[in-house]
């Protein structure tokens, strides 16, 4: 196992508020790690820092993809994505007026480049490249159980469908590290159980490392191998699900007493 992500002393403040404060976080290749914590703890902000939506106030983010180790701090979001970090959004952000297939194709084509002249003049390589993009995208839809709605507009999907599509679109960028922000939000327990299975499966099939934010403890405790707990921007605990579950600070700040029954 090798380290894929190494975050040291990551800090970000907004005005007077320090949303993320000296966070250290390490991900090993192939791990499935949870990031939990109370609302407003700074979890989404960590994702936003990792993906370049906000530049960090201080701290470093070192990301290793096969053959390359680079610092992500201060890089533009598209560059970070191309380096191999994919993500989904807490508040779903699909291309609503495009079809499901198009949503995925756009992500897929970022690795399937052909020159501008080819586009304008429909030069010979065009059709082949387009077909590859389309097929690649369709394949991902099959994996995410979305192939039957490929031609629907994204906005017309059910909430659960949209969450799946977000994941499919992130996968299409061919990430090595996938960041999922509350993938089960708004799903009922039955749907959540299905999603849990799906996350396990894609991690395996695509050889991914996954970092996952979630408030649904049934999901987190089932799939995560390790968990970081954030509160007020600070990592207050980390460890295996059992360790975290038993940690009094975590119980006090986040889980509450009754979690065992949920």
């Amino acid at each position: 196992m090798s380290t894929i992500l190494e975050v040291t002393q990551l800090t970000r403040s907004f005005g007077g508020l320090t949303a993320v404060s000296n966070v250290d976080l390490t991900l090993e290749q192939g791990e499935l790690v949870g990031l939990i914590g109370p609302n407003g703890a700074g979890k989404t902000t960590v994702f936003n820092l990792l993906t370049g939506v906000y530049p960090p106030s201080s701290g470093t983010i070192v990301f290793s993809s096969p053959g390359q180790t680079q610092s992500l701090g201060g890089k533009a979001p598209y560059a970070i994505c191309r380096a191999g970090v994919g993500r989904t959004f807490q508040n779903i952000r699909l291309f609503k007026q495009l079809t499901v297939l198009e949503n995925v194709m756009i992500a897929y084509q970022q690795n399937q480049r052909y020159p501008l002249a080819t586009s304008f003049l429909r030069l010979p390589g065009f059709r082949r490249a387009e077909d590859e993009i389309r097929e690649g995208a369709r394949e991902l839809l099959r994996v995410m159980h979305l192939d039957h709605v490929a031609d629907e507009l994204a906005v017309n999907l059910s909430y659960g469908g949209q969450r799946h599509l977000e994941i499919a679109r992130a996968l299409a960028t061919r990430p090595t590290l996938l960041l999922l922000d509350e993938p089960a939000a708004g799903m009922n327990p039955t749907e959540t159980a299905q999603l849990t299975e799906l996350i396990r499966q894609i991690r395996h099939d695509f050889g991914l490392t996954v970092l996952l934010i979630e408030h649904d403890m049934s999901l987190v405790m089932q799939v995560c191998e390790r968990i970081y707990v954030l509160d007020h921007g600070i990592v207050i605990a980390s460890g295996t699900p059992d360790e975290v579950r038993a940690n009094p600070r975590v119980i006090e700040a986040y889980l509450g007493e009754e979690v065992d029954h949920a």
Binding site: T44, N48, V53, Y54, F89, Q90, N91, R93
Partner: protein
Amino acid sequence: MEQLAQQLVNGLALGSIYALIALGYTMVYGIIQLINFAHGDVYMVGAYVGYFCMVHLKLGFVESLVIAMAVCTVLGVVIERVAYKPLRKSTRIAVLITAIGVSLLLEYTMMFFVGADTRTYGVLPPFMEQSFQFGGVLVSMKQIIIVGISVLLMVVLQYIVRRTKIGKAMRAVSQDADAARLMGISVDNTISFTFAIGSALAGAAGVLVGVYYNAINPLMGLLPGLKAFVAAVFGGIGLIPGALLGGYFIGASETLVAGYWSSLYTDAVVFAILILVLVFKPTGLLGKNVREKV
């Protein structure tokens, strides 16, 4: 030095007018994100109402001003109800095109009735033709009136928006109309109210311009409308102090460019400054750059 002072006085009067028009732009924009192209034409109608009152009905300046503001208020509300309200759920650009339609409609309806030629306000009461000398700087009564009335109206406006419930309702509607409804706010009335105030200010500006330049025509709203829009953006569109700042800034830079370089380039310089400001401060001078939280 004297000349500079004189130019600044000129710029202040001009800027007041831009600011008055820009306020209407900004308020309407602030609440429904519409660049209300017809706003400049409401100002034109205000100028004609003032003309009619003063020249044909022989009313005094203050009465004419009030009547023009009242007529424009009604006009603004009618425009909003008839032309914009049906488009509440449409894209903003569709409403923009409608606004362009309304603008043309006002211009050419007016032209149909009064012709394209310039009209003049005629002889003003003597007190308005006075001017004062302050050590080489000439300040006319009309300039004082313009600046005075503008400032007064803006203060009143700022009070309404900041301190009253309706002001808060306006801001709520602008951010989330449905949520505002759930607070018990009547969205339609609030929007109408915004148009009413904005249009009243435009009407006032129309009469002031009629008095100041003594010449009005059906297409007079086009250019000041555009510049007021620029002023609003310059200061940060949607912000009332921004519109003021923008109005005065454009007034001042126009007079200074004309005074020290060439009138040829006033507009070009104003636009160039605007673009520069936007490049370095993408939300206008006073606009806050809030990056969307994701």
